[in-house]
């Protein structure tokens, strides 16, 4: 019965994708937006690039209002979103670049220079003349990046740049983003739900969830601010029962001879010396907690 009702009556719900967020970004910054899926990251990028106009509020990038999509604005930005490709499938990537050259009105000399720099940076010299359909996924992504950067944008929006890539390609992608930011001083905003992207790339991190900003600042400060504890990782000489180890602090992992124990930040030194006194310890390290854990805590705290 319910299904027949739904044939006639469709229900809609209003959901705020992004709810009152504000931030400023300087030229040349590399900022990471992190948050779980559906947090509002992509929506924010779309607003910044000009694909969405906000219901209220002001958006200004490079002095322009993005959603007016003025040609002079568009020539200075680039949005790279996931696996969406703009290259002509049956032709060498080179041909697609030439089309972009005309669309962005890039001068011949500038085009040649930018192209050769990007090709060197990504090491794809030999692949330029091969049909895009014949390239591997990683090679294709590199070509897509060249197509997206051939007009030397001042601002680069990257939406989940490492999604779907294997470990090696992820590393290459991160290295490239870092080099591009250093070399061309382009402002880069990237969104991700992979911690490693952020750890490797972003000095400044904005955490967003359910459309709201939970944190905006340096990564190291995030750790200090939200990490209420430290982690002791221990290697034991002889077997010690879990109950005994739990007296020191929260035993998060025990795989003899290795154990990890969580202790409050202030008590970490005391706990460490107690460990060394009471138990046969072979090796002991005091570490900061994992960023993933910190962020998870930040999220669960806010959503509860």
């Amino acid at each position: 019965m319910g299904s027949i009702r739904s044939l006639i009556h469709r229900k809609y719900q209003n959901v705020k994708a992004v709810d009152d967020i504000s931030f400023d970004i300087e030229h040349g910054e590399l900022v990471g937006f992190i948050g779980p899926n559906g947090a509002g990251k992509t929506t924010t990028l779309k607003c910044l690039s000009g694909l969405l106009y906000p219901t209220s509020g002001v958006v200004k990038v490079l002095g322009y209002t993005p959603f007016e999509r003025k040609n002079n604005y568009l020539k200075q930005i680039s949005l790279v979103m996931g696996q969406k490709n703009q290259l002509w499938w049956d032709l060498p990537a080179q041909e697609s670049f030439l089309l972009n050259k005309e669309i962005y009105e890039i001068a011949d000399s500038e085009y040649k220079r930018t192209l050769s720099e990007l090709v060197d940076l990504l090491e794809v010299e030999k692949l330029l003349k091969i049909q895009v359909r014949k390239l591997s996924l990683g090679e294709r992504m590199k070509m897509e990046i060249i197509a997206a950067l051939i007009h030397s944008p001042k601002v680069l929006f990257l939406d989940e740049p490492t999604i779907g890539l294997d470990v090696v390609m992820q590393k290459n992608m991160r290295d490239f983003i870092r080099s591009y930011n250093e070399k061309y001083k382009a402002t880069i905003l990237l969104t991700s739900h992979y911690m490693e992207d952020v750890r490797q790339l972003a000095k400044r991190v904005i955490i967003i969830d359910h459309g709201k900003i939970l944190y905006d600042g340096k990564l190291e400060n995030l750790v200090k601010k939200f990490a209420k504890y430290k982690v002791l990782s221990v290697v034991l000489d002889e077997y010690v029962s879990p109950e005994k180890l739990s007296k020191i602090g929260e035993l998060t992992n025990y795989n003899f001879p290795k154990a990890t124990i969580r202790v409050p930040r202030s008590a970490s030194n005391v706990a460490a010396s107690q460990l060394l006194q009471d138990f046969p310890v072979d090796d002991l390290n005091i570490e900061e907690p994992d960023i993933e854990d910190i962020i998870r805590d930040v999220f669960t705290k806010k959503s509860s």
Partner: protein, 262 residues
């Protein structure tokens, strides 16, 4: 602007390169388009088999009309129809985003991206067809006729393009209505009948067809030396009106697409 010309030249070259890659499909595409050309000839032939005049048009004149239809539709298919077919897929797959962020008019890029060289034989066939039947009727053409014909063929194609673009824009709201393109192919084939046929039906319905019928009938009448000034004026006015409407409606659709509610 010069930029658009350069971009289009590049698109011509890219489409040609892609063609060379897919030579096999190119051959079968040529056959397919010739089939449709032959089909429209055959169906007009069947329709005129047992009759002498229809709405003041003789059999030969109707055949000239069919030939002009192949010419107009031929050009339209070469330049535009592949893009219309691709349209709803572009919207559906989110590729419209990439197009909107390029510093070039989105309607332009969407309308001209694909060039269908395989329809050229049909276009040429239409020309031969027209020449043959004009000779049968005994009409000889001078340069002025050809110039006027070319001008009004272009105006007619602009009109046809604008009607298509208006309707295809609807898929921004209803992406599953991709078969609007199929409907448009069918609807456009109503242009192969003489305009006079449509004057015989209720006023309201005429408005639906009039733009389309002028597209092919007007240039044909130029060649048949039967054209009236009002035909030419109406064709031009409607082309301008529909083109402007298509631009405005497109901008309106983009406003919707880029709003948070889409």
């Amino acid at each position: 602007m010069k930029k658009y010309l350069r971009v289009y030249l590049r698109l011509i070259q890219l489409n040609f390169s892609a063609l060379v890659v897919y030579r096999g499909n190119f051959a079968s595409d040529i056959f397919a388009s010739l089939f449709w050309g032959i089909f429209s000839v055959i169906s007009m032939f069947l329709l005129t088999l047992r009759v002498t005049t229809v709405y003041t048009w003789s059999k030969e004149e109707l055949m000239v009309l069919t030939g002009v239809y192949s010419i107009v539709i031929g050009i339209f298919h070469i330049i535009f129809s592949g893009n219309f077919r691709r349209f709803s897929r572009v919207v559906h797959l989110g590729q419209l985003d990439g197009i909107l962020l390029k510093p070039i008019d989105s309607q332009f890029l969407l309308s001209f991206h694909i060039i269908n060289y395989a329809t050229i034989p049909r276009f040429l066939g239409g020309i031969l067809f027209v020449i043959y039947f004009l000779r049968r009727i005994g009409i000889s053409l001078n340069l002025f006729d050809v110039a006027m014909f070319s001008i009004f063929t272009c105006i007619g194609i602009l009109l046809l393009y604008s009607v298509w673009y208006l309707l295809v824009t609807i898929t921004i709201w209803q992406s599953h209505l991709s078969n609007i393109t199929d409907f448009l192919f069918d609807f456009t084939s109503s242009a192969k009948y003489p305009k006079e046929m449509y004057l015989d039906i209720k006023q309201i319905v005429i408005f639906v067809f009039v733009p389309l019928t002028l597209v092919v009938t007007t240039p044909t009448k130029i060649f048949l030396h039967k054209v009236s000034i009002s035909d030419m004026i109406w064709t031009s006015i409607l082309a301008a009106v529909f083109f402007i409407a298509s631009r405005k409606f497109w901008k309106f659709a983009l406003k919707f697409y880029t709003s948070a509610s889409s």
